[in-house]
């Protein structure tokens, strides 16, 4: 029972990171029907930015803030510089470009920092918390991870639902034609979507790097799990992304915990299994059915 609690809590903590990546993918997918394969690479790079800032200033929070800002800038610049020119061209062009962007960013990080693993600091203690004498399997930092991503997701959700800018983003996502005919500058909305996605990716990067170490490919597997979470939730649904991330995080934590040493090697297979099962029963993802389809 104690084990179960531990695995669940640590699964939630990791699941929130998958949720952040999933959310960033959903933001871009909704606006442009494009899967940004460079999302993980961009998150890795902004974490190196945080690493440099922390190294020079000694302040974790300065690095944290600069990483998020760098994520916003990187997202917007990527959209304007390499995605915008593919507008009106075959959809596959943009997909190939995001893969190219990933290779470029990872190559650049390799040139600048080499391939070695660097340790990245955590905001709070990573020593496991205890309830009385019972270890809970999560640290103060794990709690911070969950709270930070949840806060970001809630802020996004509130912004989408209750602000004029959020309404513009939803209108542009659901019906580009009507949005443009109503005077919404959809191109600008898409840039903002990429910037927000960059921010979420950067958040995931700084939150996960204390446990994965930082190296040019450090976000690759996180991206794959984030992508899986996004598909489980239905690529269109921000709430689905969070639920998908949590589901995957907890499931992988059980697999790693209960299956022993083989378990951690099997995580990719477990993720694939969950994906297959979900898509068998809900081909458009868990959260697709709640929406009314356009007639």
């Amino acid at each position: 029972m104690v084990e179960f609690l531990q695995f669940t809590l640590s699964g939630i903590s990791f699941g929130m990171i998958y949720a952040a990546i999933a959310l960033s993918l959903v933001l871009i997918w909704r606006g442009t029907r494009l899967l940004n394969f460079a999302q993980g690479g961009m998150a890795m790079f902004t974490t190196y930015v945080a690493y440099e800032v922390i190294r020079h200033t000694g302040s974790y929070w300065a690095g944290f803030a600069v990483a998020l800002a760098a994520g916003v800038v990187l997202g917007a610049v990527a959209e304007l510089a390499v995605i915008r020119p593919t507008l009106g061209k075959p959809e596959f062009n943009a997909v190939i470009i995001t893969i190219g962007l990933l290779i470029f960013i990872e190559g650049l990080a390799g040139i600048l920092y080499g391939g070695q693993y660097r340790s990245f600091p955590a905001a709070f203690s990573v020593i496991g918390l205890r309830a009385g004498s019972t270890p809970l399997g999560v640290s103060r930092f794990d709690v911070f991870v969950a709270v930070a991503v949840l806060a970001a997701a809630l802020l996004l959700g509130i912004g989408f639902r209750y602000t004029s800018a959020g309404l513009r983003m939803r209108a542009a996502a659901f019906n580009t034609t009507i949005a443009r005919l109503s005077g919404i500058r959809v191109a600008r909305v898409i840039t903002v979507g990429w910037a927000l996605a960059g921010l979420l990716g950067a958040l995931a990067g700084v939150l996960v790097s204390p446990s994965t170490f930082l190296y040019p490919n450090s976000m690759d597997s996180i991206f794959v799990f984030g992508f899986t979470a996004a598909v489980i939730g239905g690529l269109d649904s921000p709430a689905g992304a969070v639920v998908g991330g949590l589901l995957l995080g907890v499931a992988l934590s059980y697999a790693g915990g209960y299956l022993g040493s083989q378990g951690s090697d099997l995580t990719a297979l477990v993720a694939l299994g969950i994906l297959v099962v979900v898509l068998m029963f809900r081909p458009d993802g868990i959260f697709s059915g709640a929406r009314v389809r356009r007639v």
């Binding site: 309404l167 209108a171 019906n175 949005a179 005919l181 109503s182 005077g183 929406r291 356009r294």
Partner: protein, 258 residues
């Protein structure tokens, strides 16, 4: 209606007032297909112009070229005398041109109220206060009480007639100077169609909106229009007062089928 919003919010009128619309020698097409081969049409301010013709005559392309959905290859689009050909749809909407494309007017995933608020996205930012927004919504709900009851419902749950009402209400909220309507009566029951047509007339008369109405139902369109234009294969074959067109038996048989 006594609007609390002051000069801006009165009766759905654009702050710059009514505008005339003219297209001159407009040429537009898709790939190698030329849909408009030099079309010239004039619509006076606050009038209704019916654009008629068979399928493929270029009616929809005409509206799309005016609103910027299709980039014209030549010719001019004059809004109150100023040439705006080649502007994108966002800019045309902000200049006061509202285009309701055929059969896809509402965003089904958004609520009725959110759909109405999208009508305000073309408003120039600082000229409209929060009170203006509330007044515009109240005005729309007053005219369309069926929408007031359903304001929190998703637009996708509305019936066809209610959707068309929502689209027209949103057009009213946008306070356009020019309203382009593509087949607003398509797929509607005759009684609902009459309501929609009545609403178009009221929009034009009461709010001084210049309406360009594309319709398959030529008889119904000419009944409410001031002017009528008949397109055939991308060219204007007739342009006259609506009454004169409706009385022209030969033209009706040849192009309009009634």
């Amino acid at each position: 209606m006594n609007s609390p919003a002051g000069a801006h919010g009165v009766q759905g009128v654009h702050p710059d007032g009514a505008a005339s619309l003219a297209v001159v020698d407009l040429v537009a097409g898709y790939g190698e297909v030329l849909a408009l081969a030099g079309v010239t049409i004039t619509a006076d301010a606050a009038t209704i112009t019916a654009v008629l013709g068979a399928n493929g005559a270029g009616k929809t392309t005409l509206l799309r070229a005016i609103s910027g959905m299709v980039r014209p290859r030549g010719g001019r689009v004059l809004l109150d005398g100023a040439d705006r050909a080649g502007r994108g749809p966002e800019d045309m909407a902000r200049a006061g041109v509202a285009h309701v494309p055929e059969g896809q007017g509402v965003i089904a995933e958004l609520t009725v109220e959110e759909n109405l608020r999208i009508g305000m996205m073309s408003w120039p930012g600082i000229a409209w206060r929060r009170a203006d927004r509330a007044a515009a919504l109240a005005e729309a709900y007053e005219r369309f009480s069926v929408l007031a009851d359903r304001r929190r419902k998703l637009a996708g749950t509305l019936s066809g007639g209610e959707r068309q009402m929502l689209v027209i209400a949103r057009a009213l909220v946008a306070r356009p100077r020019v309203l382009l309507l593509d087949e607003p009566s398509l797929g509607l029951a005759p009684r609902v169609m009459t309501q929609v047509m009545d609403m178009v007339v009221r929009l034009s008369r009461e709010s001084g909106i210049t309406v360009v109405l594309v319709e398959q139902n030529a008889r119904g369109a000419l009944a409410i229009a001031d002017r009528g234009v008949v397109l055939n294969l991308g060219r204007v074959v007739a342009a006259a007062d609506a009454k004169a067109l409706a009385a022209d038996v030969a033209l009706r048989h040849h192009y309009l089928g009634f």
